[in-house]
């Protein structure tokens, strides 16, 4: 236990300490005042203790008490109370869980949609890149040019330059 007022020995008789405090505070009256006066005639310890603390009241009288906060304080306090009440009412609303759930669902959906769009756009970009690269490839024969394909069957069968068709 840390040393504090309870453990501090003042040198005064313990049973008289409350009365000595009353005397210092100017609150000793009647029979108690006479009792203390009589005791002080013969008790050196109580006299010394009283002398020791005599200046304490004067010392403490130099400390300024708290200033009045003024009339605006009550208004500010009530504003804070009303704000707290509004927050509390909002917390107690039966719709609050549903509103909260709806917000969470909306946010989740928005994030998911954003992800889908991002992935989809990315995929399309990849496909068009691959298609543009295939036109200059060495394997173009695998992908014949349709412009030079025979339009008619005869064009396909008759060799180039032979127009007799075997008639001689």
């Amino acid at each position: 236990m840390t040393e504090n007022s309870l453990t501090r020995n003042t040198g005064a008789c313990p049973e008289f300490e409350p009365l000595l405090e009353d005397r210092l505070s100017g609150e000793l009256g009647g029979g108690d005042a006479a009792l203390v006066a009589e005791h002080l005639k013969s008790c050196a310890g109580c006299n010394a203790a009283l002398d020791h603390v005599a200046l304490s009241s004067r010392l403490l009288s130099l400390v300024e008490p708290a200033a009045d906060p003024g009339p605006g304080f009550a208004h500010r306090t009530m504003a804070r109370i009303r704000h707290a009440e509004a927050l509390s009412a909002d917390e107690r609303s039966i719709w609050k869980p549903f509103v909260s759930l709806a917000w969470r669902f909306a946010v989740t959906t928005a994030v998911a949609l954003a992800l889908v769009i991002t992935v989809d756009v990315g995929t399309h970009r990849d496909n068009s890149y691959v298609a543009s690269n295939s036109a200059s490839s060495e394997d173009a024969g695998l992908f014949p040019d349709t412009q030079s394909s025979p339009v008619e069957r005869d064009d396909f069968l008759v060799p180039a330059g032979d127009v007799t068709h075997g008639s001689h």
Partner: protein
């Protein structure tokens, strides 16, 4: 009435009449009932009536002026929330002060600081200047002297254990009675008086030790302490 001692007659004349006290108490009970039924105007009136005392109480414990208003508002907020549970078996002020004390302890625990800290210690010269004011019962005259004395006393009080300082501040500076202190701290009245007396002794121990240390320093040729 001729045989009534002067001090009793003098003190009796400053006390409000029993009928006035009971009327005031009844008015307050009515305000509390209205506030409990939800009337904000009644609660605001209670705040106005008690704000000064609660400020004094919180100031006496925390001594951090920038935090005092916030903590006091927090006190009244808690009172507002708990008001319906208050059964008026004790005075409203007693209940209010207990909440205030608890709120201060909670605040100090959360902040994990002592109520007020000074980095620089109180020097012997400073105590000597203070003694020049106190020992001849001469109140500081100029604003700068008052500010200096106030600062020196704060540093002196800072040397005391928290319990001692707070008790002395609440009783001697903020003006709470022994009865009020006993109720808000849940102590016996005699225990409060004993603690007060011993706290004074500790305060004077610190004060006189500094003075003696100052007096024991050697003086220079010009008569000044080196």
């Amino acid at each position: 009435m001729a045989n009534v001692p002067k001090n009793v007659a003098a003190s009796a004349s400053t006390l409000p009449l029993p009928s006035a006290r009971s009327e005031k108490g009844e008015k307050e009970r009515e305000l509390v009932r209205l506030a409990q039924s939800g009337e904000h105007a009644a609660f605001e009136e209670l705040v106005r009536r008690h704000q000064q005392r609660v400020f004094g109480l919180v100031n006496g414990i925390l001594r951090r002026r920038e935090d005092v208003e916030d903590v006091v508002q927090q006190v009244f907020l808690k009172v507002f929330v708990s008001l319906k549970r208050f059964d008026q078996r004790s005075a409203f002020s007693t209940w209010l002060y207990k909440i205030s004390v608890n709120e201060c302890w909670d605040y100090l625990r959360k902040k994990k600081v002592r109520p007020l800290m000074y980095e620089a210690d109180l020097s012997e010269d400073q105590v000597a200047r203070l003694d020049g004011v106190v020992s001849v019962d001469r109140p500081p005259e100029s604003p700068s002297e008052r500010a200096e004395v106030r600062d020196l006393l704060e540093r002196l009080l800072e040397k005391l254990p928290d319990d001692d300082r707070q008790l002395l501040m609440l009783k001697e500076v903020e003006g709470f009675s022994v009865q009020e202190l006993a109720e808000m701290l849940d102590l016996n009245v005699n225990t409060v008086k004993v603690r007060l007396f011993r706290s004074r002794a500790r305060l004077m121990d610190v004060y006189k030790r500094r003075l003696e240390s100052h007096a024991s320093q050697p003086k220079s040729a010009e008569g000044k302490r080196v």
